[in-house]
Amino acid sequence: MAPMQRLATCFFLIISPGAVLGQSSSIPDVEPAAAFVPATPVAGAPLQEAETLQLTDAVVERLVTEQGVSEYAEYFAFDDSTAASDARVRRAASASCKTFPGDLAWPKEIVWDIFNVLLGGALIPTKPIAASCYDSKWGKKDGAKCTEVANKFTDPLFHHADPTSSE
């Protein structure tokens, strides 16, 4: 029994740091911002499966009451929601340029984190498709991976399967 207990303790110690890191205290653990809607036909055609999950007014109202999300609800509200910030909408509409990385108005890390949670974890920071060919902020050079990228580079399907690469 004693070895088993020791094993169990070890296992716990190994997994716990990851679990703590994964569940950062500042990122709220909330459901994706989506609700199932009835699959009634639209324009003479049934809704496709992906169309039955929608952001409804009720979901936006839920965000306003959700702990850890409520103060950010204005980022995700429809422009006519009560949760929308009139000042924010006016500012965005009157800006002469789009918000760019590095700008003061660029959303803070916590906002991107909440956005990702509300998207059900679908947010992907861009990593250039050939990053493995260089030592860069996206990681160390990886010869084998780089060769694979080079070999597949003229195959359009390789780029189709990447979130941001273009042929």
Binding site: P46, Q54, F100
Partner: protein, 129 residues
Amino acid sequence: MPKNDTDGKSCTLGGYPEYAIKVTNVAQIQLAINFARATNLRLVIKNTGHCYLGKSTGAGALSLWMHNMDQIDYLPNYKGPGYSGPAFKVAAGVTVRQIYEAADKYDVTVLGAVSWVSNAEDIMPDQDD
């Protein structure tokens, strides 16, 4: 002046978006549009292939990646204004090759445009992709 960065020390994203969303439902699209409006972000759409005008990518942008939206519904008795008959309802990530295969399966004709640039090149020309 831009120069070839052969050692990768100063690699940047250049014209690529900052973030992409792997879209699998409509709620994510609505959330992204609301977010882009509220923060005044550049929003681009990459369906599956590319856009000749470059609209499927963009510096500093948030990108909707529609590749996985690939449902094809065959509607044998579609009724709409000005047309009644067989029709397809096609999600945004579907390629011309995929819809041609569906048309073959149901023995109907779909008019698409395909450029055989390489072995499997196929795009939906009427979309930003």
